[in-house]
C-alpha cells in the first residue's frame, strides 16, 4: 500500500514547498504602532510642520586670518533676527572683539513687524566675524557660544538657541600667540 515517492513527485513537492517558503519570506506589512504624539498634536500646516530648531538653524565656525568666522545656515521658509545673534568665547585663552556681520555673504531683509516695528532678519544664512583680540596660550581649540533666535514664516518662533561650538585653532595662529607670550 505504501506508495514510493518518485523522483518526479519529489521534485514537484520540492518546488511547491520552495514556493510556499518564498511566500512566507516575503516582507509582511508591519502594523504601524500608533504614535500618541502624532495623533494628538495638530498643526495648521500638517504637510509643512515646523521642524526642530537644530534642523532649521545649523551653526558652524572656524578661525581664519586671525578672526573667528561664524555662519548659521537657515532653511527656506525660516529666518533669524539679526539683533538676536551673538557670539562669545567660553575659553579664557581667547578674547574676541565685537562681532560684525559679513553683509556680502548674508542676505538680510528689513521686515515690518506689527509689534516690534522694523526688524532686520536673515534668510538663507547669516555670516559674521569676530576678530581675535588675544590668544593667551597655545591651545588646539577653543569653545565659543553662538546665540540666535528665529522663527518660521507664518508659523512659530523658536526658543532662543545658544550652541557651544569647539573651534580648531590653526597652527599658524598658535605660533603667532606663542610669539606674543
Amino acid at each position: 500500500m505504501t506508495k514510493r515517492l518518485t523522483p518526479l513527485a519529489a521534485l514537484a513537492a520540492l518546488l511547491a514547498l520552495s514556493a510556499g517558503c518564498a511566500e512566507a519570506e516575503s516582507p509582511k506589512p508591519s502594523l504601524p504602532l500608533e504614535s500618541p504624539t502624532a495623533s494628538t498634536v495638530f498643526s495648521p500646516q500638517s504637510s509643512n510642520e515646523p521642524l526642530p530648531a537644530d534642523e532649521v538653524f545649523v551653526p558652524d565656525a572656524h578661525i581664519e586670518d586671525g578672526a573667528l568666522l561664524f555662519r548659521i545656515q537657515v532653511l527656506p521658509g525660516y529666518y533669524l533676527y539679526k539683533d538676536k545673534i551673538s557670539v562669545r568665547s567660553l575659553s579664557e585663552a581667547v578674547d574676541l572683539e565685537d562681532q560684525e556681520f559679513i553683509e556680502e555673504w548674508s542676505r538680510s531683509e528689513v521686515v515690518v513687524d506689527e509689534w516690534f516695528g522694523e526688524q532686520e532678519v536673515f534668510f538663507d544664512e547669516a555670516h559674521g566675524s569676530a576678530e581675535i583680540r588675544s590668544l593667551i596660550q597655545n591651545i588646539p581649540s577653543i569653545n565659543i557660544e553662538l546665540s540666535y533666535q528665529g522663527c518660521k514664516e507664518e508659523g512659530i518662533c523658536y526658543m532662543p538657541q545658544a550652541k557651544v561650538l569647539s573651534v580648531d585653532v590653526p597652527a599658524q595662529l598658535e605660533s603667532a600667540a606663542d610669539k606674543t607670550e
Partner: protein
C-alpha cells in the same frame, strides 16, 4: 535513480524543517511588536499637574482651574505670533468664560519682561511664568516643545486631549468650543474629541 531520490528526499526534509522554524519565528516577532508597546510620556501625562508662579510671584496650582475646559497657551514677549493671539484669546475668555472655558497663559519668559507687557495688555485671564519648568509642562504633553505659540487643551476632568503648535485663529477657537461643548452634551467621547482636534 534511487540516489537521486535520496538527494531529493534529504533536500525536502531540510526545507520542511527550515519552513517549520520560520513559521514558528514570525508570530513571535509580530507578537512582540504588537503586544509590548513602550509606555509613552503622553500616557503618563494625560492629566497635567503643575505649579507655576503668577505675575505677583505667588505659586498657582493648575488644579485651581479644575472643572473648566482649559486652553493652556504658551507664549513669550519676544514672540510675534504669540502676541498676535492675545487680543483674540481675551475676547474668547470674555465670550466663553461663563460657559466654563478658561484660558491660562504661561509666559516662557522673564518676569521683568512679562510684567510691564501684561500691564499694557491688561489680560483678563491668569498669566503664569517660568523657564525650564514651564517648558517641562509643555513637554509633559508628550510633544517636543520646539517653539511658540503652543496651546494644550485639557478637558473639565483634567484630561489632556490635544495640543496645537502654531498661531491659533478664530476658526480654531470656534471649533474647539464646538467640540468640547459636544463632549459636555455627551454627543461624543474623548476619542472623538482627540480625532476632531486633529482635523482643525
Amino acid at each position: 535513480m534511487s540516489r537521486m531520490f535520496l538527494i531529493f528526499s534529504a533536500a525536502l526534509v531540510a526545507l520542511m524543517a527550515g519552513a517549520l522554524l520560520y513559521a514558528v519565528r514570525i508570530p513571535t516577532e509580530v507578537a512582540l511588536e504588537q503586544v509590548a508597546p513602550q509606555p509613552t510620556s503622553l500616557e503618563a501625562a494625560t492629566h497635567p499637574a503643575f505649579t507655576l508662579p503668577d505675575l505677583e510671584g505667588k505659586d498657582r496650582e493648575f488644579a485651581e482651574w479644575a472643572g473648566k475646559h482649559r486652553l493652556i497657551n504658551f507664549w513669550a514677549t519676544w514672540c510675534a505670533p504669540c502676541r498676535r493671539e492675545i487680543p483674540m484669546l481675551k475676547a474668547f475668555q470674555d465670550e466663553h468664560g461663563e460657559a466654563g472655558f478658561q484660558i491660562l497663559g504661561i509666559a516662557v519668559d522673564y518676569p521683568d519682561m512679562v510684567v510691564p507687557f501684561a500691564e499694557e495688555v491688561e489680560f483678563n485671564y491668569p498669566i503664569l511664568t517660568g523657564q525650564q519648568d514651564a517648558m517641562a509642562v509643555a513637554e509633559s504633553s508628550g510633544v517636543e516643545f520646539i517653539g511658540m505659540p503652543f496651546t494644550m487643551i485639557v478637558t473639565r476632568d483634567g484630561e489632556f486631549v490635544g495640543a496645537y503648535l502654531g498661531e491659533l485663529h478664530q476658526n480654531h477657537l470656534d471649533d474647539i468650543v464646538t467640540i468640547l461643548t459636544r463632549l459636555d452634551n455627551g454627543e461624543i467621547g474623548k476619542q472623538e474629541v482627540r480625532g476632531a482636534l486633529e482635523l482643525l
